[in-house]
């Protein structure tokens, strides 16, 4: 798995030095790693078990990592290995909590003509009904700075079906590869891609509407 690292790992030493120093009890480095990797590890845990116990899951996973670190063989990067341990811990917790959400109950027929035919953005021949207007905002930071828009996005994210939300968090927040996401959530790659696009497209439409009308 190749992680898109959105943390501050550039300040951490390169892989082999990192592993050696962590095994050699470099406490300052250990703390730096815990803090730098937390956003993405939290994203993985939250995608599987929800936000309420995600920190707890990450903490438990780190305890396992600490115990197993001297046996780390370097078959993947340390971060990939830690991420897998977090995902496994989260999956175990998920099973224990016996949550009723089925990760496999995916509507495979979303991307069919029947759904798209009713999409008001397009006419019967599949062209845009109206020219898609450009957005005033040109960077993610500008989008993030617009408080009302973020409140609106929050509202719509909370309404997304859980499977869509999980996959979007794993892919777009935690930066995981599809193969890894499919292993963790036990969904097929085609289903994962359909669900991911459905979620992203929904949020794009939320932002587009806000840009157009200033309304949520």
């Amino acid at each position: 798995m190749n992680h898109k690292d959105r943390s501050t790992t550039q300040e951490l030493p390169e892989e082999s030095e990192l592993v050696q120093r962590l095994i050699a009890n470099d406490q300052q480095l250990f703390m730096a790693v815990v803090k730098a990797w937390h956003p993405s590890l939290y994203g993985v845990a939250a995608a599987i078990v929800g936000h309420s116990i995600a920190d707890e899951v990450v903490q438990e996973a780190w305890v396992s990592v600490i115990k197993a670190l001297p046996k780390f063989e370097g078959r993947s990067t340390l971060k990939t290995w830690v991420t897998r341990i977090v995902a496994n811990e989260a999956k175990n917790r998920y099973r224990k909590e016996s949550r009723s959400v089925s990760m496999e109950s995916v509507d495979e027929h979303w991307a069919t003509d029947s759904r798209i035919a009713t999409d008001p953005r397009f006419d019967s021949s599949g062209h845009w009904n109206q020219r898609n207007p450009a957005w005033d905002i040109g960077s993610p930071d500008e989008l993030l700075a617009a408080k009302e828009l973020q409140d609106c996005v929050d509202k719509h994210l909370s309404r997304l079906p859980e499977q869509q939300k999980y996959i979007m968090e794993l892919r777009d927040t935690a930066g995981m590869e599809f193969e890894e996401i499919c292993n963790i959530l036990e969904v097929s790659s085609s289903n994962a891609r359909v669900l991911l696009h459905r979620a992203r497209d929904k949020i794009q439409q939320v932002v587009a509407k806000f840009q157009r009308t200033g309304e949520c």
């Binding site: 898109k4 959105r6 962590l22 095994i23 050699a24 009890n25 406490q27 250990f30 703390m31 815990v34 803090k35 937390h38 956003p39 939290y42 994203g43 995600a54 920190d55 990450v58 903490q59 780190w62 305890v63 600490i66 115990k67 670190l69 001297p70 798209i116 999409d119 953005r121 397009f122 599949g126 062209h127 845009w128 020219r131 898609n132 207007p133 450009a134 957005w135 905002i137 040109g138 993610p140 930071d141 989008l143 993030l144 973020q150 979007m168 892919r171 777009d172 927040t173 930066g175 599809f178 790659s189 891609r193 991911l196 696009h197 992203r200 497209d201 949020i203 794009q204 932002v207 587009a208």
Partner: protein, 80 residues
């Protein structure tokens, strides 16, 4: 030629590079002539970038403290 609705349907696959070369060429040809779809793709990429930067959750202090204790306690024993 690929319609706008089909391009929109496949936009994430295009962005994530989960598409065959043939499909990719069809998408590129469509984008060359369609301003609305070019904008949609740009907007979807912006949306994804925004989602990636939201809810960046810092490690709680209590957790860091607990883990540091575990690290101090466990690793010297196993590393020696």
């Amino acid at each position: 030629m690929l319609s706008c609705k089909h391009l929109v349907e496949q936009a994430s696959d295009y962005i994530d590079d989960q598409m065959t070369m043939g499909k990719k060429i069809q998408v590129k040809m469509h984008l060359f002539v369609c301003v609305s779809c070019r904008r949609y793709l740009k907007q979807l990429k912006l949306t994804i970038a925004m989602l990636g930067r939201r809810n960046q959750h810092d490690a709680p202090e209590a957790m860091c403290h607990h883990l540091l204790k575990e690290y101090q306690k466990t690793l010297p024993k196993q590393g020696s």
